[in-house]
């Protein structure tokens, strides 16, 4: 056996074949894209180009450029009223994906468990497993808006559970949590002396209330690894810049792994990220406004054609039920693709509890969304 047992035992993606099918088709309306349809704001792209012209092509500090860490610290102070020391408590990573991996490897001993509310981002389970841990999935459903409850956490916590990996607003459901709901979760976390790996990448795309970082709740700062980045809010996915903030011991441990594996995040991305913080807050708001317009349209339209859909509070995804079709999520997605050329992501990609749902990304033009809804309705009527 040439492949390690740990990798070999990782569950294969159940939707790989479906993705291959989508990639082989032409003239498809895709609502299956997990990244913004906006191009990075021009000021940011221009700074990246300029930095290359000026010869910024070297490594940076392992932790990331100090100017970027200072800007992030100031941004969090200004936007979220939370303070992190740029020298000891902030690490620049290659997207939040790397930060997630580092956090798991930094905190987990072999066999230790991490609670993961489901549905969740596709990488959550694998990063826990690859770090030698065990993911314990907590199932949620549309009935309670796909929110994990403090009771679920309380019942699953205990011996061998190091923490909870919570992503909000959530990819794929768009679900987020009010401050009150987070406080109830925080109480259980403190009761069981757990850590929270808090993936808040979509925080700026919260529509109905102000986003509350888990780390700002009383006595939580020292037990939260706060993850964020530039990919979604600033439409900078390709620049691959994320960051982790947290207690110095955990950030130090993450930095230790990062320096031996990644060395540093790409300098062009870091230069662009500095510019994004300085100049792109208006662009972030404009994109959010457009996503919100689409959100209201798509959720209303889905419910109108019989696909029950809760109102997501954030991100740019809707997660409707496909029960009306009589099919499971994979069959629905496959048949819709073949018959109406609309691509979306089957819910099973995001957890076993999602057989009856599909993820629809509204990071697509209004015209595309309108046409896609018409085709989905046609598909359902022909059944």
């Amino acid at each position: 056996m040439r492949i390690s047992k740990r990798v070999d035992e990782l569950a294969p993606s159940g939707i790989r074949a479906f993705f291959d099918l989508v990639l082989g088709m032409k003239d498809v309306i895709s609502l299956g894209v997990g990244e913004p349809d906006f191009v990075t704001p021009w000021h940011v792209r221009a700074r990246a180009i300029e930095s290359l012209e000026q010869g910024y092509t070297s490594y940076t500090s392992n932790k990331g450029m100090v100017e970027l860490r200072l800007e992030i610290a100031a941004l969090l102070e200004r936007r979220r009223q939370i303070s992190y020391d740029p020298e000891e408590e902030i690490l620049i990573t290659v997207g939040v994906s790397e930060a997630l991996d580092l956090a798991m490897r930094a905190i987990l001993n072999p066999g230790e468990k991490v609670l993961v509310p489901e549905p969740c981002y596709v990488a959550y389970g694998p990063v826990v497993e690859l770090a030698g841990g065990k993911a314990v999935f907590l199932r949620t459903s549309i009935e309670n808006g796909f929110k994990v409850t403090p009771q679920q956490i309380d019942e699953a916590a205990g011996r061998g559970v190091r923490g909870i990996l919570l992503g909000y607003p959530c990819n794929p459901t768009g679900t987020s949590y009010s401050k009150k709901e987070l406080e109830a979760i925080a109480r259980v976390v403190k009761k069981h002396d757990m850590l929270v790996i808090s993936d808040e990448l979509y925080d700026e795309l919260t529509y109905d209330f102000e986003h509350t970082p888990m780390a700002t709740l009383p006595q939580m700062r020292d037990r939260v690894v706060y993850l964020n980045g530039f990919s979604k809010s600033y439409a900078m996915t390709g620049f691959r810049i994320g960051y982790a903030c947290g207690p110095a011991d955990i950030i130090g441990a993450m930095t230790k792994i990062h320096q031996y594996t990644m060395l540093c995040a790409p300098i062009t991305g870091q230069m662009a990220a500095i510019e994004a913080i300085k100049t792109a807050s208006g662009d972030v708001l404009a994109m959010k406004k457009e996503y919100d317009r689409r959100r209201r349209f798509i959720v209303g339209a889905l419910n109108d054609i019989g696909m029950t859909c809760h109102m997501p509070q954030g991100a740019f995804y809707a997660f409707p039920s496909v029960k009306v079709s009589g099919e499971n999520s994979l069959d629905f997605a496959r048949n819709l693709l073949l018959k109406q050329k609309v691509a979306l992501v089957p819910g099973v990609a995001f957890g076993h509890c999602c057989e009856d749902h599909v993820r629809i990304s509204y990071a697509s033009s209004y015209d595309n969304l309108t046409e896609a809804i018409a085709r989905i309705e046609k598909y359902l009527k022909k059944k």
Binding site: V22, G32, V33, G34, V122, A349
Partner: protein, 111 residues
């Protein structure tokens, strides 16, 4: 009533520089009013610089706009000179960028 009712997709637009002789007491206002009252005139601005009014005119064709300029605008009393610039392509307007060939650069599907 104007016969000019161009639809957005077929509209021809021209930016016209107009030099005028200001009138006693009313300056540019009176002649500007006579110009902007035409429905063909979509916008009219008094500017500093080498000419006086910038007039934006829309019509169904280049000929319609040219006829309007020749018959109505150039011949108007106190209008000394006009220079007509037809709009060929719109790159950006009111903050919105118009791309004539937008290539989708994202992967067609991703999680």
């Amino acid at each position: 009533m104007s016969k000019v009712k161009p639809s957005p997709s077929t509209v021809v637009r021209a930016l016209i520089e107009v030099s005028i002789t200001p009138q006693k007491d009313v300056g540019f206002d009176s002649i500007a009013e006579r110009i902007y009252s035409y429905p063909e005139v979509k916008s009219c601005y008094l500017l500093s610089g080498g000419f006086d009014l910038l007039v934006i005119v829309e019509g169904e064709s280049i000929h319609t706009v040219a006829d309007f300029v020749a018959a109505k605008l150039s011949s108007m009393a106190n209008v000394r000179q006009t220079a007509t610039h037809f709009l060929l392509r719109k790159y950006k307007e009111e903050g919105q960028i118009f791309k004539h060939s937008k290539n989708e650069r994202r992967q067609i599907i991703s999680c």
